[in-house]
Amino acid sequence: GAGVSQSPSNKVTEKGKDVELRCDPISGHTALYWYRQSLGQGLEFLIYFQGNSAPDKSGLPSDRFSAERTGGSVSTLTIQRTQQEDSAVYLCASSSPTRVQETQYFGPGTRLLVL
């Protein structure tokens, strides 16, 4: 079946602009995660959605970052007033309702470059 998809695959923007990154999780997966991976760095957890529960936003680096998940499926990560340090690969992952804390399936990521 289809895996996790993300769009766009690449995004170049100017400092100060807002960007929206989209994630389509695997159908039926109730858990959805956003991570950020900067060059040479590990995955940095940003936000976690599980079903209808309030999201875990503990990893969001500033109030310029927000995310929504509509209808328990597609998620959008929004970065307002982008800064150069926001340049990174943004990865989305989802996991099955029966294995929420276990295997995560990752999308290919969105490479964001802020000029």
Partner: protein, 112 residues
Amino acid sequence: SQKIEQNSEALNIQEGKTATLTCNYTNYSPAYLQWYRQDPGRGPVFLLLIRENEKEKRKERLKVTFDTTLKQSLFHITASQPADSATYLCALDKAGYSTLTFGKGTMLLVSP
């Protein structure tokens, strides 16, 4: 504070040899530990999960050990192939949280 450490230096080995990668952690009491593979330009791919009450887990040419006393996991690839060249990440769950914390990964380069 909690820390996950993986060798930042790339591991270079010859085809056919066994590759051994290390994941050390401090101030964690994970219920399980996972290993992922990441190729350039792609998202990580799940390989193996080992629980705290398991000493060893195998899958084809892969073997993972988990020593909760040493707070260490070893990841072995036997009969390595150039196609095994990638970055390997370990990840731990965090008690009370539904998320994983990832190490920075170790790059493995297998030469023909």
